[in-house]
C-alpha cells in the first residue's frame, strides 16, 4: 500500500515558530500505523518539514518551488506519478504556509475521492475503513475501495513524540522541481496572534488557601449564599422554587401562559 502524507510549513499557533502543523503530525501517526509512508512537501525550503522525520516518517519528497507559487499543480503531478492508495492531509491552516483548500484542489485535479475530518484509518490496499468525525464525539465509519484522500480531524490520536535520533536518520529527497504554476494572491492584511491580556479582578482575595479563594470566586458566601433554605418543603413548593431559580439564572424561559 502506498501512503502519502502532505506536509506544510506551518507555524506554532502561539509562539509563531516554524513547526509541522499538529494535524499533519496526527496524520503521520495514522499513516505509520498502516505501513510505510512518504511525506510530500512543495515549497521553497524543506527545513520546515524536517520535523516530520522525527514523528514517524523515514522519507520526505521535496518539490522545490519559489516562494509564493501555488503548490497544487506540482503536488498533483507528483501524486499522479506516485499513484498512492491513501493521501492524508491536515484539515485547515493553523497560521503558516498551509491551506485547508489544497486537499480539495488536489482531489479535484486528480479526480480522487475526498473524505474529510478523519480520526482513524484501518484496513489494507483494497478496502480502507475510515472513522470520520461528525463533531462532538460522534463518528461515522466509512469503507472505501480504491484510492482516497482524507483530511485529518484534531480529534485523531495525538501525535507521536518527536525523536531527535530518527529525524537525524531520515532522508529528504529533492524530486523534480516543477517550475510552472500560478502565483497565489497575496493577502494584504497584517496578522498577529490573538493574546488575552491579564485582568485584575477588583476585590479578589489574595490570601488564604486555594479552597477559600475558589469559594470567594464562585460566590459561596456571595450571591449563592443568599438563597433560601427550605426544610422539608412539600413537593409542590420545592418544584416551584427550583423552577423559579432556573428561570432566574436563565436556564429556563419564563412561564408560558397556556392555561389562560
Amino acid at each position: 500500500m502506498t501512503i502519502v502524507v502532505l506536509l506544510s510549513a506551518g507555524r506554532h499557533p502561539v509562539s509563531g515558530a516554524p513547526v509541522l502543523p499538529r494535524m499533519e503530525a496526527q496524520a503521520i501517526r495514522i499513516a505509520a500505523s498502516l505501513g510505510e509512508a512518504v511525506g510530500l512537501h512543495a515549497g521553497p525550503d524543506a527545513e520546515a518539514v524536517r520535523e516530520a522525520l522525527g514523528l514517524g516518517l523515514t522519507r520526505i519528497e521535496h518539490i522545490a518551488l519559489p516562494e509564493g507559487l501555488d503548490p497544487v499543480p506540482a503536488l498533483s503531478a507528483r501524486l499522479a506519478a506516485l499513484a498512492p492508495d491513501l493521501v492524508l492531509a491536515g484539515r485547515r491552516s493553523q497560521g503558516g504556509a498551509e491551506s485547508g483548500v489544497v486537499p480539495y484542489a488536489l482531489a479535484e485535479a486528480l479526480d480522487l475521492l475526498l473524505i474529510p475530518d478523519v480520526v482513524a484509518v484501518s484496513g489494507g490496499a483494497d478496502t480502507l475503513t475510515l472513522d470520520q468525525s461528525l463533531g462532538r464525539g460522534a463518528l461515522r465509519r466509512v469503507s472505501v475501495r480504491g484510492p482516497v484522500l482524507a483530511t485529518v480531524h484534531p480529534d485523531a490520536a495525538a501525535p507521536h513524540a518527536y525523536a531527535f535520533g530518527k529525524a537525524r536518520r531520515g532522508a529528504v529527497e529533492l524530486v523534480g522541481a516543477a517550475a510552472t504554476g500560478v502565483d497565489v494572491p497575496q493577502a494584504i492584511v497584517e496578522e498577529r496572534p490573538y493574546r488575552r491580556r491579564p485582568k485584575l479582578v477588583k476585590g479578589a482575595p489574595t490570601g488564604g488557601s486555594a479552597a477559600e479563594r475558589l469559594k470567594a470566586a464562585t460566590g459561596e458566601g456571595g450571591s449563592a449564599a443568599k438563597g433560601r433554605l427550605l426544610v422539608e418543603p412539600d413537593p409542590e413548593e420545592a418544584a416551584r422554587e427550583i423552577l423559579a431559580h432556573l428561570r432566574q439564572i436563565g436556564v429556563l424561559a419564563g412561564p408560558t401562559k397556556s392555561n389562560s
Binding site: V14, S15, H160, A163, F164, P198, T206
Partner: protein, 632 residues
C-alpha cells in the same frame, strides 16, 4: 616440631591462594566491563585519593546507620588486617616469631566479632531492606574464616600441633576460599568493585566537597544517543553498578518506591548488573512495587528497556530525579545518571516518552514553554505591579528569573511577595519578560537533550545582550540548570536562590522583619536546592530571622523526602498506590506545625494539591513579607 613447620607455610599460603582466587574471580567479572564505552579517568589522582575518599566520604554516608558503620569497621578492618598479617608470614623470619601469631589471632578474633554482627542483621530474621540470596551465606563464610583463622593462629602461637591444626586450617580454608570465590557474583564483589569505583568514579567532584550534580551534556552527533543496552554505558559506570552491595538504603529513601510506583532503585541497579551477564545469580531483594518478574534477554547487547525487557519503561519514568538514592548510597553509585541515560535513548532514539509527557515536551520544543503559553504571558501574574523589563533597561544589578511557576496562579502570589520584598529593600532588578524561555529542565530530565540544548543556547544568547551581576530565582530547578548545567553550554552566571538573597538583604539591614513567634513552621527542603546544591541553611536562617517557632521533619536537609514534583514525574504520571505529596504532607503533619514553608514552585504546587491538608503552604518569601509588613 616437624608437623608445625608446614603449617606456618600452609596457613599464609592459604591467604595467598585466596588472593589469587579473588583476583581470578575479579578479572572474570572485570572482563565484562570492557564492553562499556571509554571514559576519561584520572587514575593516578584517584589512586592517591582513594584512602581519603573511603575513610571520609564513604564513611560519612555509612555512619548514618551507626550499627552498620560499626559492623563494617570491625569486620572489614579485621578481615583486611588478619589476612595481610597472615600473608606476610610467608617470610620465614616472621613465621617463626611466635608472639606475631598472637597479633594475628587477635585480628582474626576481631573479624569473628564482626562476623557475628553481620550475622545478627540477617538471623533469625533479615532486615527488610537487605537482600537475601548469596548474602545470607556471607555470615557463615566470615565466621568460618575468622574462627578457623583464630584457632590456627593460636595453635601457632602456642606451638601446639596435632589433630587440631588440620581441622582449624580446614575451617579457615572453607571460609576464606568461599569469600574469595564470592568476588565474581557474590557479596564480596562490592569490596573489589567498590574500591576501584572510588578510584575511577565518574563524578570525582563529589569528593572535593562541591555538589557535582549537573547532568553531563550529551554529544548530539554521537552515532547512538543514550543507553539502550549495557554496552552503551561507559565502563566505569558498569563497574559502579557492580559495586552495589544490595544494602537497600536507596530503596527506603526512594519516594517512588514509598508511593508504590514500579520503581526500586536497588532493583534497578541490580537489573543493570544482571543485564550485563546471564550468569548473574537471581535477585533476592524487594521487587519493583507491583511485583513484575525479571524477564527478557541478558547480555552486553541486549536491550534493557521495554515492556518485555528487564526494566519496564514505567520504572524509568517513575523517577523524580530527587537524588535521595544517590545521597544514601554508601557505594557512591549515581542512580540518576543511569536513569537519565536510559531515558535519553527512549526519548531521542525511539520517541518513546510516556503518553502524557508528549504534549509538554512538544510544546517546550516548539514554543519554549511546557504549557504552550505565550512567553509574554509569563509576567501576567504581576498585573498591577511595576515590573522592570531588561529590554527597556539593558542592565540591572539583579536579573530576576521567573521560571515556569510564574504561569501558576498560586505561585504568582509567592512571586508577588518576592517582588514586593525586592522593592522594599530597594534592589535594582529586572526580568527578561517575554524573552525568558524555559530553562529546559523538564526536557533534560525526561531525556530530551536536544530540546534542552536548543533552549539553553537561546537563553544564553538572550542573556548575552544584558548586563547584570547576578541572577536571582525562586525556582531551584531553574537555579540548578542556570548555575550548574549552563556552564557546559557556554553560559556562566552567578545564580542565587531567593532565600539566600533575602537572607543577605536581612543581614544588610535592608529588610527589617518583626518576629512572628505565633507561627509554627516546618520547612520542606526542595531536592534541587538541598541535594543538588547543598543549600539547606539560608531558608532556615530566614525563618529564624522572623522568629517563627520552627520544627524539623524526620527527614530534612539533604536527606529530605521529595514532594514528587521533579524529573517530569508529574507530567509522566505513572500510577502508584499512593501519591508522593500525600506521604510528604503526612510527614509534615507529624511535626504539628501549622505552616509548611516551601521554597520552590514545584513543591508549592505538589503540596498545595494534597487534599484534606490541615496545614498551610507558604513560600519563605510570603512569610518574610508578612513579617516585614507587620513591622510597618
Amino acid at each position: 616440631m616437624t608437623s608445625l613447620m608446614p603449617l606456618t607455610t600452609v596457613f599464609p599460603g592459604l591467604v595467598w591462594l585466596m588472593a589469587a582466587l579473588a583476583l581470578v574471580q575479579g578479572l572474570r567479572r572485570a572482563a565484562l566491563w570492557r564492553v562499556g564505552a571509554a571514559a576519561p579517568v584520572a587514575w593516578l589522582d584517584g589512586l592517591v585519593k582513594l584512602p581519603k575518599r573511603y575513610l571520609v566520604d564513604v564513611h560519612h554516608v555509612v555512619a548514618r546507620d551507626p550499627y552498620a558503620s560499626r559492623m563494617h569497621a570491625v569486620v572489614a578492618g579485621g578481615l583486611l588486617a588478619a589476612s595481610i598479617l597472615t600473608a606476610l608470614a610467608i617470610l620465614p623470619p616472621i613465621a617463626g616469631f611466635r608472639p606475631y601469631w598472637f597479633v594475628v589471632a587477635l585480628a582474626f578474633g576481631v573479624t569473628a566479632v564482626g562476623s557475628l554482627l553481620v550475622g545478627a542483621r540477617r538471623y533469625p530474621a533479615k532486615q527488610k531492606r537487605l537482600s537475601a540470596g548469596r548474602f545470607q551465606i556471607l555470615p557463615f563464610l566470615l565466621v568460618a574464616y575468622a574462627v578457623g583463622g583464630t584457632a590456627t593462629a593460636l595453635l601457632l602461637a602456642f606451638g601446639i600441633g596435632g589433630v587440631f591444626a588440620p581441622l582449624a586450617l580446614a575451617l579457615a580454608a572453607a571460609g576464606g576460599l568461599g569469600l574469595a570465590f564470592e568476588v565474581r557474583h557474590g557479596p564480596m564483589r562490592h569490596a573489589a568493585a567498590g574500591a576501584l569505583h572510588l578510584v575511577a568514579h565518574p563524578r570525582p567532584g563529589r569528593f572535593e566537597g562541591r555538589p557535582d550534580t549537573a547532568l553531563q551534556p550529551l554529544d548530539l552527533d554521537a552515532p547512538r544517543l543514550g543507553s539502550e543496552m549495557p554496552a552503551d554505558f561507559t565502563w566505569n559506570r558498569l563497574l559502579s553498578y557492580d559495586a552495589c552491595v544490595s544494602c537497600g538504603r536507596c530503596e527506603i529513601a526512594c519516594p517512588a518506591f514509598a508511593a508504590g510506583q514500579p520503581l526500586n532503585p536497588k532493583r534497578l541497579i541490580q537489573d543493570l548488573v544482571a543485564g550485563l551477564s546471564p550468569a548473574e545469580p537471581a535477585y533476592a531483594g524487594n521487587p519493583y512495587p507491583g511485583g513484575r518478574p525479571a524477564q527478557g534477554e541478558r547480555g552486553a547487547l541486549a536491550g534493557l528497556i521495554g515492556p518485555d525487557a528487564r526494566i519496564h519503561p514505567d520504572t524509568l519514568w517513575s523517577c523524580t530525579t530527587c537524588r535521595a538514592c544517590v545521597e544514601e548510597c554508601p557505594m557512591m553509585i549515581e542512580h540518576v545518571d543511569a536513569v537519565v541515560s536510559l531515558r535519553r535513548h527512549q526519548t531521542l532514539e525511539r520517541g518513546a516518552l510516556p503518553e502524557k509527557a508528549v504534549g509538554p515536551v512538544t510544546e517546550l520544543r516548539q514554543s519554549g514553554d511546557p504549557g504552550g503559553r505565550p512567553l509574554s504571558a509569563r509576567t501576567d501574574f504581576a498585573a498591577g505591579v511595576d515590573l522592570p523589563v531588561m529590554a527597556d533597561r539593558q542592565q540591572a544589578e539583579v536579573l530576576l528569573w521567573l521560571g515556569e511557576g510564574a504561569y501558576d496562579l498560586r505561585y504568582g502570589r509567592s512571586l508577588r511577595a518576592l517582588i514586593r520584598l525586592l522593592r522594599e529593600a530597594g534592589v535594582d532588578f529586572a526580568v527578561l519578560g517575554a524573552e525568558e524561555r524555559d530553562t529546559g529542565d523538564l526536557a533534560r530530565r525526561l531525556g530530551d537533550e536536544a530540546t534542552f540544548q536548543a533552549l539553553a543556547r537561546e537563553n544564553i544568547a538572550t542573556l548575552q545582550n544584558y548586563r547584570f551581576e547576578r541572577i536571582v530565582t525562586a525556582d531551584p530547578h531553574a537555579l540548578h540548570a542556570l548555575r550548574n548545567e549552563y556552564p557546559a553550554m557556554g553560559g556562566r552566571y552567578t545564580v542565587i536562590h531567593h532565600t539566600a538573597f533575602l537572607l543577605e538583604l536581612i543581614r544588610a539591614g535592608k529588610l527589617n522583619p518583626v518576629r512572628l513567634p505565633d507561627l509554627s513552621v516546618t520547612y520542606h527542603d526542595p531536592c534541587y536546592l538541598a541535594r543538588y546544591n547543598g543549600e539547606t541553611e539560608a531558608p532556615r536562617a530566614v525563618l529564624d530571622a522572623i522568629g517563627v517557632s520552627r520544627s524539623e521533619m524526620a527527614r530534612s536537609g539533604k536527606r529530605a523526602m521529595c514532594c514528587g514534583g521533579g524529573g517530569g514525574a508529574p507530567v509522566s504520571d505513572i500510577p502508584g498506590e499512593r501519591r508522593i505529596p500525600d506521604i510528604r504532607m503526612a510527614q509534615a503533619a507529624e511535626t504539628g506545625a501549622g505552616i509548611v514553608a516551601v521554597a520552590c514552585p514545584s513543591c508549592t504546587a505538589m503540596l498545595e494539591g494534597v487534599t484534606g491538608r490541615t496545614s498551610e503552604i507558604r513560600d519563605i518569601a510570603e512569610l518574610l513579607l508578612q513579617a516585614v509588613e507587620a513591622g510597618r
